[in-house]
């Protein structure tokens, strides 16, 4: 609701210039600028830019819940469609912009030995660095983490300037040959669109927060032409849980954006590979080997980024202007000296690899060089994402293994394309740590269900190998490097959820029937020296009471009074052993003890819970 928005400083609401917002207002990590490292200073600046806009509150004194109780809910759905469409259009134009920049700068068919391969990334790197440092500081960094930050820290706020900045700088960088991908910026553009649109309608803070993942799903879905993967990724990596409140909107926006994208790009899947038939079970061993190799490669990739990125961010501030051009130069040199395939997102190279156009040695070299080029590009702070490079490395590794087998084990009749595709999923699962999304992503970008068995096998192995070698997921590594503390979705997924049964204590308190008289109840408590007791009421209802509460009742009622007649109308809610432990907490403020019942036999008590029991159980973990 609009009441929940921060009050305007000058009454102008959203029109407040972002530059005028005091840093203290943002809930972002507080750093003393004098003591902070350059990376922290940058993070603070980015945080300042991301600071929530102040909404106009013309009707703050009106009870919105009274005049329009379902408005937020319905606008949420309607806006999700608009967000999907607008995100889809922006992502389509974003991809076109990247291609135009590439054609205009690197030429229509760049090849090794062209001087422009060195000059273009160098110059564009300098331009991008200047833009990011002077105009669009919010464009720096991972779009996924920025979206998560918007969700968890900035009340869903992503500024218009950040969206524009991300669009321009990422298009320049990717078109100029930097080894980065367009999906991550697309995701952030989608989230930004959602944030901008939703702010216009003045929705509640809770809704505003949720719009960021809705837009993210739209942006990612349009970029990949894969709605299911986008939805799963947002749930797996951004939101972290299946929430009915947001799922409908995420689905609507993702589908809307994909419909728009397909209107332009067509409905055929991104990659075309023939149906895969694993006739020889030995072939699964090869896919398992691919999983192991993918897990190792993902770990190398993560460690390289984890090593280089913080070091580059901690360099003096002025180096931020030269890091992207130097990174561009490095990438350009790799391209100039024989490997122009690693420049840019590289989707056409992935397609070539799937069609077995390269030898296994070249494919392996491309995978390793792509890791190097992407590590340098991303660590330099150049806007761009990790999705396409991840897919590239995976495709090259997979195709390399597939081609190797084809050459040395021709009897297996393997298909190189399927290995490349599985390789993509493997890196996606192992590097980005989104195992479920990785499986669906492979299915969606290929439109080929027959590949599911090898994908599941290889992805699972890669995920486990990568986790054992690199316990921290890459997005979490980035989060820590950026000085933020966002929830780790992987940790959340693996959290052990405590249930009532974990704190349950055997029934030790007296049970008094509701039909008993007050005097009888008091005598029973005296005999058993009990401080609390349970009252069994008709219809499997329960009531709990302390000795003092009974004494208060006895003071104002005759001892022959039936206990049930003097009880307050509320009853203890039904609780069962499998419910989450925290579900008991709200009731423990009212009730001194809670009976936990058996689902199969209503009315029979499995045990009891007190606040002390719950706290003791939590403290034990």
């Amino acid at each position: 609701m609009m009441e929940s928005q921060p009050p305007p400083e000058d009454g102008t609401g959203e029109g407040t210039p972002e530059e005028q917002r005091p840093l203290e207002q943002t809930p972002a990590p507080q750093h003393d600028a004098a003591e902070a490292t350059p990376a922290q200073v940058t993070a603070s600046e980015e945080a300042a830019e991301r600071m929530p806009a102040v909404e106009p509150i013309q009707m703050s004194q009106i009870d919105m819940l009274k005049i329009a109780p379902t408005r937020d809910e319905r606008l949420f759905l309607v806006l999700s469609i608009f967000i999907g469409i607008i995100s889809g259009l922006l992502v389509v134009s974003f991809r076109i912009a990247i291609n135009w920049v590439q054609v205009l700068t690197l030429g229509s068919a760049p090849h090794a030995g062209q001087w422009r391969l060195i000059l273009v990334p160098l110059v564009i790197g300098a331009i991008v660095a200047a833009l990011v440092q002077l105009l669009f500081p919010g464009a720096r960094g991972s779009g996924v983490n920025n979206t998560k930050a918007a969700l968890y820290i900035y009340n869903g706020y992503i500024s218009f300037k950040t969206v524009i900045g991300k669009y321009i700088t990422a298009a320049l960088a990717l078109g100029g040959g930097f080894s980065l991908g367009p999906e991550d910026p697309s995701l952030q553009i989608g989230a930004g669109v959602a944030s901008i649109v939703s702010r216009r309608l003045g929705l509640s803070r809770q809704r505003l927060r949720l719009f960021a993942p809705v837009g993210a799903a739209a942006g990612l879905a349009a970029a990949f032409n894969a709605p299911i993967s986008a939805i799963l990724f947002v749930i797996e990596e951004v939101i972290g849980r299946w929430s009915a409140a947001v799922l409908g909107s995420v689905v609507l926006s993702a589908i809307s954006s994909v419909v728009v994208a397909r209107r332009f790009w067509g409905s055929s899947p991104m990659f075309s590979v023939p149906p895969v038939t694993v006739t020889d079970s030995r072939e699964l061993l090869a896919y398992a080997a691919l999983g192991v190799v993918g897990g190792l490669a993902a770990s190398i990739f993560s460690r390289a980024l984890g090593y280089l990125r913080p070091r580059m961010r901690n360099l003096p501030r002025w180096t931020y202007y030269v890091q992207p051009p130097i990174a561009g130069l490095a990438v350009g040199l790799i391209g100039f000296f024989g490997f122009p395939q690693i420049m840019g997102p590289g989707y056409e190279v992935m397609d070539h690899a799937m069609h077995g156009q390269f030898t296994w040695q070249l494919l392996l070299a491309l995978a390793l060089l792509k890791i190097l080029a992407t590590t340098i590009s991303f660590s330099s702070g150049t806007p761009g994402g990790m999705f396409a490079p991840t897919l590239f490395v995976g495709a090259m590794l997979g195709a390399s293994i597939g081609t190797f087998e084809k050459v040395f084990f021709p009897a297996l009749h393997i298909t190189v394309g399927s290995y490349a595709l599985v390789g993509m999923g493997v890196l996606f699962a192992a590097f980005l740590r989104v195992p479920l999304t990785s499986v669906f992503m492979v299915l969606e970008v290929s439109g080929n269900y027959s590949i599911i068995l090898p994908v599941i096998l290889a992805n699972t192995i890669a995920y486990l190998v990568s986790r054992s070698l690199q316990p921290t997921a890459i997005f979490e590594v980035f989060t820590h490097q950026d000085g933020l503390d966002l929830p780790s979705m992987e940790e959340q997924r693996e959290e052990v959820i405590l249930h009532l049964e974990d704190a349950l204590r055997p029934l030790q308190v007296p049970i008094i029937e509701g039909g008993a008289m007050l005097g009888e109840a008091a005598n029973m408590l005296d005999q058993q020296h009990a401080e609390v007791f349970l009252i069994r009421l008709p219809g499997h209802a329960w009531y709990s009471m302390t000795r003092s509460e009974l004494a208060s009742l006895a003071a104002v009622s005759a001892s022959e009074t039936i206990l049930a007649n003097v009880l307050k109308p509320e009853r203890i809610p039904l609780l069962f052993p499998d419910l989450p432990l925290d579900s008991a907490l709200p009731h423990l403020a009212r009730w001194p003890i809670l009976p936990v019942q058996n689902r199969a036999s209503r009315g029979s008590v499995e045990g009891t819970l007190t606040l002390a029991d719950v706290l003791a159980r939590y403290q034990a973990t």
């Binding site: 291609n99 135009w100 068919a109 649109v197 590979v273």
Partner: protein, 441 residues
Amino acid sequence: MRAIPFFRTATPLTAAERMAKRRLVLQDTLALLTIFVITCVLAVLTWLLFRSYSQHQSDAAARWKRRGDQALAVGNANAAVFDLRAALAYAPGDRGTEIELAGALALAGNLQEATAYFNTLWDEEPGSGVINLQLARLAARQRQMATALEHYHGSIYGTWEGDGTVRRRQVRLELVRYLIQQSRFAEARDELLIAAGNDTSTPAVLEVAALLEQAHAPLDALRQYREVASRHPPSIVALEGAGQSAFMLGRYRTARTYLERALAAQRPLINHAAVETNLREADGVLAAYPSPQLPQRERLRRVVHAHDVARMRYLACARQLATAHLAAAPVASPAPAPPAGRSLASRLNLLGDRTAQSPSDKVAAQPASSADSDMTSLATRWNAARPRLEMKDLEENPQFEQAEMQLVYDTEQITSHVCGQPTGTNAALLRIATSPETVDQ
């Protein structure tokens, strides 16, 4: 169906709240309208951008493909690979370009990449005639016969765009050439007989007939040539081919007929000299052959003549062999006396001049080798034969005719093995000996 109000309220609203609600409705409507207009404008802009982009993509794809085609045309395969890859980057999934690119990779010598690429294309479209053909060629180049044959058949029975029948026939003939190259003549013949039925035009039949000749199937080739030669106007190639095939089959009468017609046409022949030579030889054969269709006297005369010619050939060969044995004998160590009389060479020599020998000379020879054995056997038969065959002997004993001609044929065949190819009438008799029953066909 109950309509759900957009703004549902539970309790009556005050005047201020109603006003606020109206303002809220207005604000939301305007906001949604604004978003709608923005969406429309954005859609139009994106569409314009996309149209321009698509045009550029298709132009670039066409330009690079054209360059690739030109590079292929001048044999610059490496440039073609680069250009076609660029074309594919702008038109991904274009099957024609993909196939051209894979072909260019093969031309550039990147057989492994080309095979892998074609295999991937094949995985996507296993029934494609053109992809199977390219894979067959690659396998043939890499000496993988089984794979090559599999893909050749896949191509023949695969799908082709447009001129499928023609392309399938071409692939089949290519397969035939490959089979001939691999000396798998029987399979080549089978494929050719199928191909013959697919196209009955004169050039097509002549092509099949020529390949049948190469596939060591002259009888089938002759059938094809004769079929075309019977058309009006007769094909000079068919006449020549029929004559040569018939000659190869030992059908000298047929051969002579076609070869004469071919020469009489006064038109350029594929191998004019061969036609003339073969015609001459066919004439010689027919002149020497004691055909059952000839009058008896003429036939017997030819038998007697053949007998004389063969006997002379035998004697000459025996002498040649004896000379060769003597020359091969060691000079320092004289050959030990043969256990059962004189040496084979001396016996053959003596047999050669039978009138000067005593009957004791007619001792069975001990074979020293296959040639010696054959010659010894021949010597025995000649010794047993009449020294001089007269026509009246044959008239009195008609059964001699067959036996004498058999001796003639055996003599020509054995002496050709032992003493080399004969000339003149001996050569004609040797040809007859190969297949006497076909000479008159």
